[in-house]
Every structure is written in C-alpha cells, then in structure tokens.
Amino acid sequence: MTPSLEPISELKLEGITKRFPGVLACDGISLQVRRGEVLALVGENGAGKTTLMNIIMGLYRPDSGSIHVNGEEVHFHSPGDAYARGIGMVHQHFMLVPNMTVAENLALGLKELHHFMNLDIKGAAKRIREVSERYELPVNPDAYIWQLSVGEQQRVELVKTLCLGARLLILDEPTSALTPQETDDLIVRLQRMASELAIIFISHKLNEVKALSDRVSILRHGAVVFNGQTANHEPSELAALMTGHDVVLPRNEGSGIQGEALLSVQNLCVRGDRGNLVLDGLSLELRAGEVLGMAGVSGNGQREFADALAGLRPVESGQILFGGKDLANRTPREIIHAGMGYVPEDRQTEGIVPSFSVKDNLILKDFAEPRFSKMAFLRKKEIDSNAEVLKERFDIRCPSTSTATGSLSGGNIQKVILAREISRGPKALVAVYPTRGIDMGAQEFIHEQLLARRREGIGILLISEELEEVMNLSDRIAVIYKGKILKVLPAVEATRERLGILMAGLADPDSPGDEQAEVPAGVVHE
C-alpha cells in the first residue's frame, strides 16, 4: 500500500448507525477531527467506541451514515483502504510478532519492500529511523520485540502505523497496559506529534483525556451525548456524562484501628520466570478488617508475590502464615480452602475460562462443594440460581448467564471474578490490579465492594499501580521496591509525591531515620 500523498485535513463521520443482533452499537454518530487536533473519544466499555473505530477502519460496514475524508465521501472495505487514505489505528492489544525485530515487523505490512526473492529489511530500518527521528519516537529497528518493555512496544506500534502512511492516528486505549511513568511519557510524545497529525484518542481515563486532548466527545449506549472543548470541563463533569450519573469514587473513611493479624508473610524469597530472586526477603502483615495497599512500579515483584500467595509459584524460603498455618508451597486447593480469595492480575485467562459460560465461571472454585454437586454430578438448578443471584447482586451485565464469559467487557469479567471470590466468604482477599483498564462505573462498583468487605472484617491486600486507587481505599500503604517492602505507612500520611519517591527506591524524605533506601530484610516500618 502506498502512503497517501495528500495529508488528511479533515475526517468527518455523519450519522453512522450500526446494528448487531439485539444491540444498537452505534446510533447516528457524527464526529469530526482535523489536522493538528486531538479528539478524545470517551465512554464506558460497551458504549460503541471500538465498533465505531472498526467502521472507520473498514472492518465493519455501517448500516447507514457516511464517512468523509477531506470532504470526499469514502467507502472502506478493509484496513488497507483506510491506510491508503492515511488513516491508521493502533489497537489496544499490540499486533507485533515477538520473535521478529522491529524492522521485520514493519516489513510484514509493507508490500513495496517485498521484491522477488528479496525482502528489503534495510529499507524498512531506514524508514523506521526517518519516522522515529521526525516524531521523536526513539525506536531501535534491530531490536527484537520480546526484548522491549511494554512502553517501547507501544512506540513501535506508533512508528509502524506512521511508516504505513497514517496521518490520522486512532489510538484505542493506548495506555491500558502502560505503567504510570510510561503513560506520562507517551502523552508528552503524542502532544508533540499532534501538530502534524490528527489523533483520535480512545480512553476512559479522564485525567489522560484532560492532559492530551483538545476536544472531547462522549459516547453512551452508542450515541454521542456530549461534544466540547476539553479545557472547559472538569474530569468529574465528564465522568458524570460518561456514566449517566455522578461518579464519586468511594474513599476509605476508616478509623485506622483494625483487628488482629490475619496474614503474616515473613522473609519470603521467590524466584521469577528467569530464575533470579524476584522477592528477596519480603515481610508484610495484613490485619483483619483493613485494606493494605501495595504500591510500586510494576515489575518489582508484585506478580510473583501474588502468585506465591495463591500457591501458583514455588517459595524458595520464608513463611506465609495464615490462620495459624504456613501456606508456603501448599497447593492452590489447600490455600483456597484455608479461606484465601484471589483476584488475579490476568483476568482474561487466569481469572476465568473465557469459553465457559458466566454461570460455569462462577463455580470455578466451588463446583465440587456439596452446594453445587451431589454424588459427583453437578447440580444444574443450584448453579443456575447461584448465577442469577450473583448477576443481580454484582450487577454483571450479560445477555444471559449462559453467555461465554470471554465475550463480556473487562469490567463485567472483573465483576464475575469478584462475585465468585467474595461470595465464597473468604477471610482474606488478594486483589491484583483490580480495576486496570476498567471504566469508571465498574471501577466505582468494585471499589464499593472492596470497602464493604473491609467493613465485614475481611482483610484485603490491594496490589495496584494506580496511586489514586491505593490512596483512596487503603488503611495502610506498603511500598514494594525490588522485591522488598521499603516502607509501610498509614494512608493518611501518604501523598502522591511521597509515594512516588518511595516507589522510585529513594529514601523517604519525611522520615529522617531512613538513611538508606534498602531496608534490611524483615524490618517493617510502621
């Protein structure tokens, strides 16, 4: 495909309507975006954002309505057609081949580099260097994708899309897999790029929308409910428009007095996937009736810690004392029976079986309990009624409880997992990145659920990289850095700045007693 010679000065959608069996995904949507402008398209999961973008890219055809590029009506039949007019999309899930280099990944999509019996990799690398220089997106064309961090892969996707000739970029939730630092970096880069390009930025993180976009359009139930200049509106106002009601993320208003120690982790050492010690003498105590937030830049041992707690990763040394028993190196089954609830980081493939129905996923841990089975046979009626009750109680939005869980939105999948874990009546609940990539409405609901369980006396370990979330929900905050707990501080004493400094592994400015960042193993500061 040849890059379009004529730059995009305007993309205009008029009255786009798209109906799927039983759902009106897009209901007469009109939008426009011009060169030099960032349009934020926000809406909850299922509001129709992704369908609309797939229509622009020619993956779906609208039932009615029209698309105009530079004032001329266009009909795209495939993404190739869209690229030919300078429209490119970076998908939420990266479309990169991990065991190929950056240049080879670009060459996959550029037919003009494919000559008879010869693939012009050098040409691809040259093109990458040009683009990465021009838009200040540093990318090494010879690096293998698997060697790159998620943030770097995101840059590769951007460079690839630009190399393919896109002058209007559609970014579908580009920050959903990024750390806060990577997100800030990406937003700065996008701001610079916006002067030469047009960008449609899909997101439901309103602070990012606020930071990056010039204009914002809000979708709800497939229709545009709001258009306006971003600068004139507060995030809370946008959140209310997005969800249809005022969103107030709940806060932990706790007194700070909690029950006895529930879970006590002592000198835990755990190896990572590459055999190195990722947890190096981690100690931590979780009390009944508290939310203990674990803040930290991802990759500092959070995943391995959660795995070890759930019995999914061998423990090298140390103890996990829970209800008087040491759970280190026990099977997941034993740990589940001891009363540990777990909301895993990877909700798509670990928290659920995607091809199974909602009702089958709701009994994933309890199918063999007498409540759901009798003489080795499943009790269908009991399973059905359990699903109906939980669907109602946890506001799981699905066509029916027989729907394949994998087809639901992220927020609803998370509600399925939470419903299962909470309804089992655990003593402690470990929640790993529970609201990552989830829209405001579902986030509000999940936060309320966690706080309600705290009031019931359950101890909750909340592992998150969203500082807002940690600060809003926690009684105490533990900062993890390089496999150790650097400091545990009461949430009332935590500020963004102080946590940020601790997360970077630096000495805590507010407690002069800390001479070194690396606290000796086993010492927990209160």
Binding site: F20, P21, G22, N54, L59, Y60, R61, A310, L312, T331, P332, R333, I335, I336, Y342, P344, D346, T349, E350, G351, I352, V353, P354, S355, F356, D360, L364, K365, F367, A368, S373, A376, F377, L378, K380, P399
Partner: protein, 370 residues
C-alpha cells in the same frame, strides 16, 4: 443472537462440505472418473438395501467409540493421535483374554475380554498422558511414535507367539490368531447380517460420555483443564492429573473399539484389523464438533463413505482409497473453517449478505403475491 450463531455455523459447515466435495471432484475428474456418478454411488449405494445399511452401522461402531475417546482428550486439552496403536493393543489384550479362558461362561468371558481391551488401550494412551504431564513431552509426537511401536508389537505377536497353530500345520501361514471361543462373541442384532451388540454399546457409551463431560464434576474439571489450563490451576485443579485421566479414557475407548471389532466382527485378531479407524476417528470427532450428539451421526456418515468407497471401486473403478483423500480434504476444510467461525467480521459480512438476500427474497415474494 444464539440462533443467528447456529445459522452462521451451519452455513459455514455446509459451505465447507461443499468445497471439500468440489476439491475431491477435481481429483476424481483428473483420474478419469465421473465425479457425479462416484458421489451418487458413495452416498446412495450403501443405503439401497438392508445389508448395506447394516454394514454402514458395522463400520460406524468402532468409529463412534474411537471418536468419543478423541472428544474426551481434545476437550481436556490433549490431542490424541494415537488411537490406531491403542486399538491394536486393545485387540491383542482382548484376544489373549478370550483365548486364555476358553471354557468360561459368556457372562464372564465377554465382559472380561472387552475390559481387557479397554484396559490395554488405556495403558497405551496413558503412557502418552503421563509423558506429557510429568516430562512435558508433546503428545502428538509421543502418540504417533507409540503407534509405530504398537504396529510392530502387533505384527510380531500375530506372526509369532499368538499365531494360530493350525495356520502353521495345515493353513497358508496367514498371520492371524486362533478363533475366539463363541462365548466371547458379541451377539448379532439382525440375523443374516454382521451388525452386532457393539452398536448398542457405542450408543450407550455416547450417552455416558455426554453425561461425563457436561454433568459431572470430573467432566467439569477436565473441560476446565482443556479450555483454560491457567484458570484451572488458579482454581485449584491439578491440570496434569487430568491430562493423564483424559488419555487413559481416550485410550480406553480406542482399546474398547479394538476389542469390539474382535468379538463383534472378525472373531479373531487379524492383520489390518484397525483399518485406519484410529485416524478416521479423529475426523469423525472433529466433524461431530467434539460432542457425542454430533459424533453419532458423524460416525454413521463416515460409515457410509467407507462402504460407498468400496462400492465405487467395484462399480465405477474408482480406488477405495479415494475416501482417504476425501477425509484429508474434509479435515483441512474443517480446520480452515474454524477461522471463519471465530471471526466476528466475517460473521458480520455474512449477515449483511444474508440480510440483503432475505429482504430481496421477501420483496420478490410480495411481488409475486400482488
């Protein structure tokens, strides 16, 4: 929504079958046969008389049993390509068991022979399952290799220790075992034909497999291990254990198929007794959507193809091996069709096209009325 999906899947499967038939027609044409006449013989020939129908069912019995086992293993996340070897092991064990107790009453001997066959198949399949669970040996490699070993063991036994002594003294030296005592025979269902009680056994087995997979906690565990190993581990299901259980069952069904062939049809172990049922069973299972409700008709359909192919050899001088070509093309088509079945964009296009078609048909209908 659900009805649309079924409509879509049905349309894709029909289209795939049609394309497969078309491709095979090209092959038939290239060897100088008439595709239409061949297809007509294959599809109608076997059903033209009672004997044909019963022969179709005779063929469908082992296909059904093997395919049920395949469905269990595939659903549990392990691809069993070793049914061929498991059948042969089943044949040997059931024959040996029946010959070892020639004077036992039927109530003991027949079940004992069938059980021995199932057990031997289970062991042979279990080896691959164990290797996968404990040593992460790819099950496709191990089952295929076990097929070769089983084939050699089978040949050795039939030509050596298990060879019928009469063949050595008076016969032609055909490699086959002694004839089973009659107490080890499966009863014939229709006098004068070869259809036997094995058909009932296979149908009951289909019902049991359906109940196992979708009604029991064991089936839930196995399907969870197959559909999402990571989630299964997270939920406390020891995935590796169920890989072994699945292969034991899959091998057991293949071994049972072998035993049923011996006591229902041939009444002795002969060379080539498995006649490719182990591989055809995979096609039957896939064509039946890995579900007992699909496998039963699918096994009958392939029974028709097998008998039909024999008939074309006689009537239209098309080699019976053409059925193997047809099977191969069908596998490729089904596997290719999966990408369409899972592609929401293709589905959307189909309904756009279908919507146009049906609305214009409605218009045409109205036009005709007025």
């Amino acid at each position: 929504m659900n009805r649309n999906k079924i409509l879509y899947s049905g349309a894709i499967i029909l289209a795939v079958t049609f394309i497969a038939a078309l491709l095979v027609a090209l092959v038939l044409y290239s060897i100088g046969a008439s595709p239409l006449a061949t297809y007509k013989t294959i599809l109608t020939g076997p059903l033209s008389d009672l004997f044909g129908v019963t022969e179709v069912l005779v063929r469908s019995v082992p296909l059904m049993l093997v395919a049920l086992g395949i469905a269990i293993s595939f659903r549990s996340g392990i691809l069993n390509i070793g049914a061929e070897g498991q059948i042969q092991m089943g044949v040997i064990a059931s024959t040996a068991m029946a010959l070892a107790m020639p004077h036992a009453p039927k109530a003991i001997l027949l079940p004992a022979a069938l059980m021995a066959g199932a057990l031997a198949g289970a062991v042979w399949g279990g080896i691959a399952g164990w290797l996968k669970a404990k040593l992460q040996v790819n099950e496709i490699l191990s089952t295929v290799m076990l097929n070769y070993i089983a084939a050699q063991v089978y040949t050795f036994l039939l030509r050596g220790p298990m060879l019928d002594p009469n063949e050595l003294e008076t016969g032609s030296g055909t490699p086959q075992s002694m004839r089973l005592p009659e107490m080890a025979f499966l009863d014939t269902l229709v006098p004068g034909t070869r259809i036997h009680m094995g058909l009932i056994l296979a149908l009951v087995a289909a019902l049991l497999v359906w109940m196992l997979l979708w009604k029991t906690t064991l089936g839930y565990r196995m399907r969870t291990a197959g559909a999402g190993a990571k989630a299964a581990r997270y939920a406390g299901i020891p995935v590796e254990r169920y890989l072994i259980v699945a292969m034991l069952m899959a091998g057991g069904f293949a071994g049972l198929a072998g035993a049923v062939e011996v006591s229902g049809v041939h009444h002795r172990a002969i060379e080539g007794i498995s006649s490719g049922y182990g591989f055809a069973g995979i096609v039957v299972a896939l064509f039946g959507a890995l579900h007992p409700g699909g496998i039963v008709p699918s096994a009958v359909f392939f029974g028709i193809l097998l008998i039909g192919a024999d008939m074309t050899q006689r009537s239209a001088s098309v080699p019976a091996n053409m059925v193997l070509v047809l099977q191969g093309v069908i596998i490729l088509s089904i596997v290719s069709a999966q990408s369409f079945l899972r592609n929401p964009y293709a589905q959307e296009r189909f309904f756009r096209w279908f919507g146009k078609f049906s609305s214009s048909a409605r218009k045409a209908g109205k036009g005709a009325q007025s």
